[in-house]
Amino acid sequence: MSGHEHKSRHRHKHRHKKSSGLNFIILPIIFFCATYLIIYFTLSPIFSPVINEARLLFSDSKKDYSKKDDFNNIFVPIEENPESVPVVTKKDGKQYVDNESVVFPRYGDCFGQLIMEDCDIDCKLFFGDDSLALRNGAGMYNGSFIPGYGGTTLVGGHNSTYFNGLKNAEAGQKVLIKTSYGNFTYTVTGTDVKKYNDPTAYDLSSSDKSLLVMYTCYPFDELGLTSSRFFVYAELTDGVMINREEAEE
């Protein structure tokens, strides 16, 4: 073997070793990329419906389970901060609450207080009537109107707790609803017992009068799920209404 041949062979060996060493890094990376490409193109059409559905379950942050029994309280009694409710006088000479100053409640918010002295009822008023609301007070159906806005306000409560006193309700009694934007006094016009799905029990579409409908399960103090409801109907007799026209604009 000549010197030149030996040198060339040595160089070849060296090159071979070097490239072989690089292969131990490059090839696994290529394999890694190719593996994921194959997975993506073969499995994504099969699993994409599940993946899309699963994505709906995720959010950017962790859910805080420690706050599950907490509710947002936006109620500040008007007596504590009388200047917080600016009023506007309209052409008809009547005063209305400036709708821009009203903090409209969101679902689950405690936004007021319901007091019916004659029936020994004094409880928090929630926007929404889920179990958290009914456990802590009375819940306003979120498809009805908030007090002061006109239309019917539909409020429910448990007959074993906060609305147990409704059994003593009679026409002429007063119901006071306090909110951060005004206090509203209603006068009871009557009571009735109807089935829970009776469409004649109340009319939420009417906005001519400011009405309050309170209801609870009937008969009172009965063990079991009842299909009848005890309704108390009341009409607004005192309170400054929200300036609805501008709110609708």
Binding site: F24, I38, V50, F58, K63, E222
Partner: protein, 281 residues
């Protein structure tokens, strides 16, 4: 001479492709094995439930839900605290999970609960001398409570993935055996087709290194994203259970990845020694 060079290049490409296929097979085998030992293993489900205090959390949720339902009837939390036991919950959950894995049923049986609730109500009525009882309304309450019990203990996600779950579970063990046989076959081909030991080791090392990286990809992805900790579920018990289950899968993938790293390093060391010895000679 030229023909030999071309043949050699083709040979190298062929062995690299074989090596990649082996890497893919080992990756699929590892993932299947990890899933079969975790997500598709009923005992893993049950032990994760035990480890995350699933039954205790579910008991609390049940008491809350049932109290919401029976508040109008005047039944307080204390009534259910005495009546509902973790043994009742774990027993019904066990039969529910067993039924789901068998594919026989996917609803929680509320018979035992209804029986206990009915007896507890009778005792409550007698103890409190309650006279205002309507049998129809009482039965309606028992039925609704049974539904609440069943709904609280069932895992809604299982029903969603049910079709996929049973399909994969049915084929998983067959797939594992097929993948293991394929891996052995591919290794044998690489061993037999290559004349030199260092080449045999080299191609197997490429495959194990590729598998290591692919598994590492999943493990890093799950770790960086915190597993499924951002999942939004109503039930804390179910949340803890699922997060723990996925963390278990993540740990198993890290372990499998580490195993392939060790194998790759050993093969590389052997390969280097052979090359060194050959060049010395």
């Amino acid at each position: 001479m030229k023909k030999n060079k071309v043949a050699s290049v083709f040979k190298k490409i062929f062995f690299c492709i074989l090596s990649f296929v082996l890497s893919l097979v080992l990756f699929a085998l590892s993932v299947s094995a990890v899933l079969s030992m975790t997500f598709f293993d009923m005992n893993s489900f049950l032990s994760t439930m035990k480890a995350t205090s699933y039954y205790e959390e579910k008991k609390e949720e049940l008491i809350n839900n049932l109290t919401d339902l029976t508040y109008p009837s005047g039944l307080k939390e204390s009534f259910f605290e005495e009546m509902i036991t973790t043994e009742m919950i774990s027993g019904d959950t066990l039969s529910y999970i067993t039924g789901f894995f068998d594919g026989s049923k996917d609803v929680v049986d509320d018979t035992a609960f209804r029986q206990s609730f009915s007896e507890a109500l009778d005792k409550y009525i007698a103890d409190n001398n309650i006279k205002n009882v309507n049998t129809k309304n009482l039965n309606s309450l028992i039925n609704k409570a049974g539904k609440t019990y069943s709904k609280t203990l069932s895992i809604p996600l299982l029903r969603t993935i049910s079709t996929y779950f049973h399909f994969i579970k049915k084929w998983l063990y067959i797939a594992i055996i097929a993948l293991a046989c394929s891996a052995v076959l591919l290794i044998l081909i690489l061993m037999v087709s290559n004349r030199w030991l260092h080449r045999k080791i080299k191609y197997i090392c490429f495959a194990t290194s590729g598998t290591f990286l692919s598994l590492l990809g999943i493990a890093v992805f799950l770790t960086v994203n915190g597993g499924i900790s951002h999942i939004q579920l109503e039930s804390l018990g179910l949340y803890n259970f699922l997060v723990h289950l996925v963390n278990g899968i993540n740990i198993a993938i890290w372990f499998a990845s580490g195993l392939f790293l060790v194998i790759s390093v050993i093969l590389f060391v052997i390969y280097s020694r052979i090359i060194k010895e050959t060049s010395k000679r």
